[in-house]
Symmetry: C2
Amino acid sequence: MSSTDERLDEFELIRRYFSQPLVAADGVALGIGDDAALLEVPQGEQLVAAVDTLVAGRHFLPSTSARSIGHRALAVNLSDMAAMGATPRWATLALTLPEADPQWLEGFAGGFLALAQQHEVALVGGDTTRGPLTVSVQILGTVPHGTALRRDGGKAGDLLAVSGTLGDAGAGLKFARETPLSSDKSIQQLIERFDFPAPRVRLGVTARGLASAAMDISDGLVGDLPKILHASHLGAHIEVERLPISPALRAVAAEEEVRQLALGAGDDYELLLCVPPVKWQQLADAARQLNLTLNIIGELRAGSGIRWTLNGADFAPRVSGFNHFG
Amino acid sequence: MSSTDERLDEFELIRRYFSQPLVAADGVALGIGDDAALLEVPQGEQLVAAVDTLVAGRHFLPSTSARSIGHRALAVNLSDMAAMGATPRWATLALTLPEADPQWLEGFAGGFLALAQQHEVALVGGDTTRGPLTVSVQILGTVPHGTALRRDGGKAGDLLAVSGTLGDAGAGLKFARETPLSSDKSIQQLIERFDFPAPRVRLGVTARGLASAAMDISDGLVGDLPKILHASHLGAHIEVERLPISPALRAVAAEEEVRQLALGAGDDYELLLCVPPVKWQQLADAARQLNLTLNIIGELRAGSGIRWTLNGADFAPRVSGFNHFG
């Protein structure tokens, strides 16, 4: 590090690279610079809080750009807000860095802030420490009292639907490892889906009062579906042929590999929604207004366990969900 | 790792070692286990949010016990709430671990939870990831609207006071490095002050409406005092002979070293308070009710900069504050 960097203190570091959100933001009575931030939760709303960490070598590749890391660190947290139907409002950032590299910081802050501005989220606190690259973001949002989309609200007979397409980010990660500089348009699109996931925040807000339960798919459908079933004390039937697949993924992988990625790969950050049949059309129409596709992939059933079928025949997914300690 | 540990997933890890706060806690509508927690901010109160990270090799020694790391990770955040005069309510934990060692986790969770229970703080969210040991805690508290102790409220003529004694934790860190197994009572006390700091949460709440500004001393008085002066647009006069020193520190170090530790060493997590003279007696009495001593060490002055004196003569502190990127 240069002698200039050695004098960078925590506050200066944050101020220099994260200055944009320091302007007055909605509900921020006091932002970065004191011992803590002072925030105003709108009356009649509940606070929604989550935390997610990205670790170098575990959640991104050595070749991943700083801009992507900044984007993803916030995106995975925004996705938790989407899964609750909450409006994200504020974030704090705990950033552990091996060194204060200005170029890296500029890219990281750029990726983080562009997404923050898109969702009108203010960065209200931060802690920078020296050590192996680790990024923890805590996200705070609000939701009108009693309207949050929880995992335990599913009912037998609810349709199971997912937003967007599945398996793209998993394929993107594979190509980012193997052929990061490919000029193939489909491969570039898939890598982009891994590097810059789009959290479904507006869909989550829209689904309040329509979906009975929701979660985001971060660890893959096979890994995540049991969590919502466990919370709702239900089983499910999934028709594997209905999993939504993007043209890009179909273009670059064989059918069996496509299926495995759609079932097991994580990092898509699409929403998994439980929807009473009478609410389905309204929710699908609302999603279309957001330029998003919702696809029914199965339904919730009384009992426990998952029945997977492929074109009517029983099917056994070979993949297992992503596990941070697996 | 054993094959059992390999199957530990994030939720199971948290549930197994952090189960106590999963019981219903004040203001927690939905705790760990969904995509995010749902929390109730009392009407008329502002939300107070901060984040602090501990990194192995930077904020604690390789020899530091897991119990101390768990305690300190929460304590440094509670200290931020104390500095705002806020009541801490909820915390989330981002824990990056090289491996899921049950013995380490039990100690860490024990230290974290004992302090959480003492302050009635509920752990409402967590993310465990594999990587170099890094602990980020995000603390959430509340404060009646407009009563928070900010750094920018100081007025010329306010007394500057500190709680407890200064320099103990700095000495404790030194002894923990050099003579960790010493049987000397004073040395043990000082190491304890580093390993298990007591955040001044009740004092912070008590100081609302009495102090005009406050912060916690985490990086040492010389490093931290300028921050409150900068925020309040003021200077200060500090009488160095008035810095409160513990008998334990006096017993183990020479006068000049004691002074340097009290001025420059961090990690004491005492409060630095700006107090209008007319409010002083009331605040000092209130502190005494909490079994805490407050000591006047100087006063705020118009202008900028700090005049340091020792028994009436100008004095130049040689130490500089702790800087994470220094």
